[in-house]
């Protein structure tokens, strides 16, 4: 009896000690939509979006002169839409009035007018995806499974911004890298919240001169697509 009691108390001590330091089992962290999400937000939540509408993309225009050619960026937008469509994530090209993903290119200063949360952190980055519905009110519905945060996006504008300067200096990156940036940002608009940890993936955080989606890019989108 005493032995049983002691074992029970010892186990409870161990349990409480472990509980106090780590209350979320690792296995639960990736259970939300069975998605494998590499990165987390600042609160430690792993996050993914699920689109509940058909992605419709439009080129919104070049916003300031920069070094961009409007026709080039329009062609890259078409390329990104076709690439994601080819791998099973159909993205329709439409006119700007009916799009829920809009691509703008220009100088960073101009992009600030669309998304003033482009902070100095992002000054050094060539692309950004901004979610808005034009009214200031989010339409995302979030739910949690353990510490994985999942959100639906419905009729929600995703604005993909790319720019070619860092604080007045031209970003000297290649055409291939611009295509890579567009593919990457459209990937976010389609549901990727975080980044891949595999450096060869388009959805890895670093821009590079490659513009073909990998199987890992594709498989993750297949996991999270919801339409």
């Amino acid at each position: 009896m005493k032995k049983t009691l002691c074992i029970f108390l010892a186990l409870s001590t161990m349990f409480l000690s472990v509980y106090a330091t780590n209350s979320i089992p690792e296995a639960d962290r990736l259970s939300c939509w069975n998605a494998t999400v590499d990165s987390t937000d600042s609160s430690g939540n792993q996050r993914i979006y699920r689109m509940t509408v058909q992605p419709k993309i439009a080129f919104g225009g070049v916003m300031s002169m920069g070094t961009f050619s409007a026709s080039n960026i329009e062609a890259y937008t078409t390329y990104a839409a076709q690439e994601w469509t080819t791998v099973g994530m159909p993205v329709n090209e439409v006119n700007i009035g009916s799009a829920n993903i809009i691509v703008y290119a220009g100088k960073r200063q101009a992009m600030l007018l669309i998304d003033n949360t482009i902070t100095a952190t992002t000054y050094l980055l060539p692309g950004h995806t901004y979610f808005h519905n034009g009214t200031g009110q989010p339409e995302k519905n979030w739910y949690y499974n353990s510490d994985v945060k999942c959100g639906y996006i419905s009729n929600f504008n995703k604005v993909v911004l790319i720019w070619d300067d860092i604080i007045g200096n031209k970003l000297d990156i290649s055409e291939g890298t611009y295509k890579n940036v567009l593919l990457h940002e459209v990937g976010h608009a389609l549901g990727w919240y975080g980044h891949s940890s595999n450096t060869t993936d388009i959805m890895h955080k670093a821009a590079k001169d490659s513009f073909l989606l990998t199987s890992r890019d594709v498989n993750h989108v297949k996991q999270i697509k919801g339409y």
Partner: protein, 295 residues
């Protein structure tokens, strides 16, 4: 006696358990806070160009207009569709550069979340300097927000800890360190005026001035519309192009076929917060029409 021993054991173990729980939650709260900081505030949905990462105070200061100690008075968490926050700060002390405002507006994207209401920080600041925002609008440069605890500086992300060194890891040392770095920016460099009394003065500071006809309007957000133009007459410069769309104030309610005089900088942005996009109903329309007729 045995019962008493068992009872004592039980009480002891319960006390130990309670102590473990209590200490796990409360032991060294500040250290726990430091341990729970994000690895980085780099936004996870943006791309990073290899080689451009910020790695030191010298890197951060190169992009900064001012460094100040300021307290976060208010965080508007619902700002910008849950994507970013607007923060209002009270400036306690400017320790480098020029920042003539006692109150600041900062914009922080969602992936930050590292700045807390009611707390005081050492901030590396860069003026937003875009016509649509108040002149006291700033961004934080990189991970340049530091917690001040007993004069010691701690990064608001773990990564930022690596950017300070023995030479500048306290507030006093940082003041001394920055005092040796020349200031490159003053508030005079903020080129966005509220307005100009005379069209002629606005003409002088403009990179391009033209009369344009609106060919397309797309409502982007509460601040700007995306505007397509046809250039009817160009009076100065070549910054404007019919191939480019422009982000001009939505409050103008521009419509297709309407005509405007526009005074813009090299990026096609208005040179003043008010009065640089002039339509037939604006008070300075006749003045602009008369002035530009002689150009």
């Amino acid at each position: 006696m045995k019962k008493l021993t068992i009872l004592a054991c039980i009480i002891l173990i319960i006390v130990v358990n309670v102590f473990i729980l209590f200490s796990a939650e409360n032991h060294n709260t500040f250290q726990n806070m430091l341990d729970n900081r994000p690895e980085s505030v780099n936004p996870p949905n943006a791309m990073i160009i290899p080689g451009y990462e910020t790695e030191s105070v010298d890197d951060i200061i190169a992009y900064s207009h001012a460094v100040a100690v300021a307290k976060v008075e208010k965080i508007e968490e619902d700002s910008y569709d849950g994507i970013g926050y607007e923060l209002k700060l009270a400036v306690d002390e400017v320790i480098w550069g020029e920042c003539p405002y006692s109150e600041l507006i900062l914009f922080e994207n969602l992936y930050g979340g590292h700045i807390k209401e009611g707390e005081e920080y050492l901030l590396f600041l860069r003026a937003l300097n875009v016509y649509a925002y108040p002149e006291n609008s700033y961004n934080i440069v990189g991970n340049g927000a530091y917690i001040i605890e007993d004069n010691t500086l701690y990064g608001t992300s773990k990564e930022a800890d690596n950017w300070i060194s023995d030479q500048n890891n306290t507030l006093d040392k940082m003041k001394d360190y920055l005092s040796k770095i020349p200031v490159a920016y003053t508030s005079n460099d903020n080129s966005i005026a509220d307005s100009y009394d005379e069209v002629s003065a606005m003409y002088e500071v403009s990179d391009s001035v033209a009369k344009v006809k609106i060919t397309s309007v797309f409502e982007e957000n509460a601040i700007v519309d995306v505007i397509g133009i046809e250039i009817i007459e160009n009076y100065k410069g070549s910054a404007l192009s019919e191939e480019v769309k422009y982000l001009w104030p939505s409050e103008k309610n521009m419509a297709v076929e309407e005509e405007y005089f526009v005074f813009v900088d090299a990026d096609g942005l208005p040179v003043a917060r008010e009065g640089a996009i002039i339509g037939a109903n604006d008070s300075n329309f006749n003045e602009a029409k008369e002035f530009l007729a002689n150009k």
